[in-house]
Symmetry: C2
Subunit: 387 residues, 2 copies
C-alpha cells in the first residue's frame, strides 16, 4: 500500500539489496534475480515476499519467455510510489524536476536564483522544490552544482556561487523543505543517473563525458562511481588533445576545454568568419557545409574522439557516454569523432561503444534526483553511495 513513511530505509539489508536490484535491472523473474544476486531460489522467495506484501514490488506482465517449463513471473518495483525532487544550480539559475523512483521526470520548473548567498540559494531551492512538487510528499531532495560536497551535505567548494567557506547546504535545504536532502557534484550526479537509469543502465564500467560550457568527466568502475576530492572539477578539461589547437584561459594549447567548450567553438567560428553569436548556429553552419564552421567543428570532433580513446585506453571501459548541453557536437561531427577515436585506439582491442545521450538542464536536475534516490534506497549503503 505504498506507505511512504515507512519506506525503503526500514527494509532489512538483504531485502533492500533485492529491491535495489529490481529497481536497477527490473523487471526480473525470481529466478533471474537469484542468478543476479548469487542466491538460491528459496532465499529470493523469502526476500521478495515482504516486498510484494508491502506493495513496493508487483508482478508484471504475463512473463512469456517462450521456452520450455513453467513460465516465470517477472517482478518490478512500483516506481510511482515515491516522489523525489532534483535541483541543478548554475551561477544564476536553478532547474528542478520531480521524478519517481526510477527517475522518470514528472514535472519540471526553473527560475533565476534570488542571489548567490547561501540563504538566498536555499530559499530559491526551496521555492523551486515546492513549485515542482506541489503538495506531493517527497521521499528525498537532491541538489547538484559545479563544486564539491563532503558527505553529500557540506558544500566545500562552489566556484560559480563564490562561497568561501563550507556551507551545510544539505542541512539547510532539509530544514527548508522538510525532505531529506543530499548534495552532489553535478557531473557525478549525472553519472549516477546514467549508471542506474540512463544510457549505461546495467553497465559494470563506463565513462561519462559532458560537453557544454565546460567539460565534465565521471567514471564508474566495478559497478560503483569513482569518487575523489578532484572528481568532477575538471581534471579532464585540460588534457591536451591537439598540440596545434587553440589556447585555453590557462595557456594550454589544444586542451579539452579549448577544443570542446561551446564558448570556445563559437569564438573560433566567429574569429574565422564572423556572423555567429551562438554555439547552436555554429553547429548548424557546420551541418550546412560552411568551411570555417566545418573545420572548427571537425577539429573538435576529432579531439573528442581522441579524448574518448584516451579514456578507454586508460580506464578499460567498453562504453563512453557523451552528454551535456553541447553534445550535439558529437552528432554533427560524428565522422571526425570516429576518426579521432580510431587514430588513438588499437584496432586489435575491443571497439569502444560511444553513446550519445541528449542533455539539457533537466537532465542535470534529473541527476540530482538520482543522487537522492540512491541515498534513499541505499542509506549509508555498503557499496553505492559512500565509502
Amino acid at each position: 500500500m505504498l506507505n511512504g513513511s515507512t519506506g525503503w530505509p526500514s527494509l532489512t539489508p538483504a531485502t533492500r539489496t533485492a529491491a535495489v536490484e529490481l529497481l536497477r535491472h527490473g523487471p526480473l523473474s525470481r529466478s533471474a534475480l537469484a542468478r543476479r544476486l548469487g542466491l538460491s531460489a528459496g532465499s529470493v522467495t523469502r526476500l521478495v515476499t515482504p516486498l510484494l506484501a508491502g506493495g513496493l514490488v508487483v508482478p508484471v506482465g504475463p512473463g512469456r519467455d517462450g521456452g520450455i517449463g513453467r513460465p516465470s513471473t517477472p517482478l518490478d518495483v512500483v516506481a510511482a510510489g515515491h516522489r523525489f525532487a532534483g535541483v541543478k544550480l548554475t551561477a544564476s539559475h536553478g532547474y528542478a524536476v520531480l521524478a519517481d523512483l526510477r527517475s522518470t521526470v514528472l514535472a519540471k520548473v526553473d527560475g533565476p536564483l534570488r542571489g548567490k548567498s547561501p540563504a538566498e540559494v536555499v530559499a530559491s531551492v526551496a521555492d523551486l522544490v515546492s513549485r515542482v512538487a506541489g503538495d506531493a510528499p517527497l521521499a528525498g531532495v537532491g541538489v547538484s552544482l559545479g563544486g564539491r560536497a563532503a558527505d553529500h551535505r557540506i558544500v566545500t567548494a562552489a566556484p560559480y556561487l563564490g562561497w568561501a567557506g563550507p556551507v551545510d547546504l544539505g542541512g539547510l535545504v532539509t530544514a527548508a523543505t522538510g525532505a531529506p536532502t543530499v548534495v552532489d557534484n553535478d557531473v557525478l550526479a549525472l553519472a549516477r543517473a546514467t549508471h542506474w537509469f540512463g544510457a549505461a543502465r546495467g553497465a559494470d564500467r563506463f565513462a561519462l563525458v559532458t560537453v557544454g560550457v565546460g567539460i565534465g568527466y565521471g567514471l564508474v568502475v566495478h559497478d560503483r562511481l569513482v569518487d575523489s576530492d578532484d572528481a568532477g572539477v575538471g581534471l579532464v578539461a585540460h588534457l591536451c588533445l591537439d598540440p596545434l589547437g587553440p589556447l585555453c584561459a590557462r595557456g594550454h594549447r589544444g586542451c579539452a576545454e579549448a577544443m570542446l567548450a561551446s564558448g570556445k567553438i563559437r569564438d573560433a567560428v566567429a574569429v574565422g568568419r564572423g556572423g555567429v553569436s551562438t554555439y547552436a548556429e555554429c553547429l548548424d553552419l557546420a551541418s550546412a557545409g560552411d568551411p570555417v564552421a566545418v573545420r572548427v567543428v571537425d577539429d573538435a570532433g576529432r579531439a573528442l574522439g581522441r579524448l574518448v580513446a584516451m579514456i578507454a585506453n586508460l580506464t578499460m571501459v567498453p562504453t563512453v557516454v557523451l552528454s551535456g548541453d553541447g553534445v550535439e557536437l558529437a552528432s554533427v561531427a560524428s565522422d571526425a569523432l570516429a576518426a579521432g577515436l580510431a587514430a588513438d585506439r588499437d584496432p586489435a582491442a575491443d571497439p569502444v561503444r560511444v553513446e550519445i545521450h541528449p542533455g539539457g538542464f533537466d537532465e542535470w536536475a534529473r541527476g540530482a534526483a538520482v543522487t537522492a534516490i540512491q541515498s534513499y534506497t541505499t542509506p549509508r549503503g555498503s557499496a553505492m553511495m559512500h565509502r
Copy 2:
C-alpha cells in the same frame, strides 16, 4: 600447527575474510580488524579463534600503543606456513621464485625454455618449479606471461610464444607439478603483487606502469584489479605523449612505446652519438651528462611524467607506481618526469604520488606467485580474483 593440507580453502567464508584482511593489512589488533571489516568486537573474537587454534594466525609483539586503556594484542598471519612458486615466462626464458604466503622471496632460479611448444614450455616450467621449490610442498603455482589467460587457466593469446589456439596451460602445469596452478597476464600479476604486498599495499586505488622492453599498465580501483580482455596487452603503449617524438613500429609519433621502451631509447642514443650497445649504458651516459643521452632520457622522462598525469587525471588514482626492468629511467630523469607531470596536472588538484619500485625478472615472477596466493586465499572469491 600449520597443517598445509587443510589450508585456507577449507575455512568458512567470514573466517577467510578475516584471515585475508590480516594477511594484507596485518599485524592488526582484534579491535582494528573489527573496524576494518565493519564488524562488532564479538564477531571478530569468534572469527579469529579458529585461526589462532589452527596456527594460521599468531599474536605478535607486545602491542604497545602508548595510549590509555588496555593494550591491544596485534595478530598476524604466519606467512612461513605456506609455499608458493611463481614463474614468469618470456619468449626464451623462465624465471621462478619460491615465496611464502606474503610473497617474500625465499629462492630464485631461472633458465632457458626448452622450446616454445606447449609441451616444452610445460616441461620447462615444471623443471623450474622443482628446482626452486626442492621437495617443499607447494600450496600453489602461478605462471605469468605476456598474453591473456581465460579463467586463470586457458592461455588464449601468447604472442611471444607463437601459440595459435588456446592452451590449457593451467591444467597442464597442475598435472606436471601436482600443485594447483593459475595463469595470468604478467602485468596484471605484477599489479596484484603491488596491490597486496608491494608499493601500493593498502591502497584502494592506484595505477601501475611498467617500463622496459615494452610498456605495461595495470589499474586497481575500489580495491580490485580492473580486468578486461584488453588489460595488459598494450592499450597504453600507443598513447601519444609527444607530438614531435620518434616513431614506433606502427607509425605512431611519440607514443609511449616510441618514447619509453628501452630498445627505443638505446636506438635513439645510438643514432645520435654512437658507441652504445645497451640501455643501461644510455642511462649511465645521461647521468654523466652526455648531451645526446641527456636529451633522449629527459624527453623520455618528460613523456613518462605526462603519461602519469594522464593516468591520474582520467582514473583519479592518487598514486602511480612505476616498475619494470627499465624503471631506472624514472630515477635518472626524475626532474624531467616531475616537469612532465606538472605540465599536465592541474596544480589545484591533489598531487600525484609517484612510487618507483625496482623491477627485475624476479619481481615479475613474484607477481605470478601472488596470483597463486590470491587464488589460494580467495578461491572463486566474491571480490578478489574473478567476476
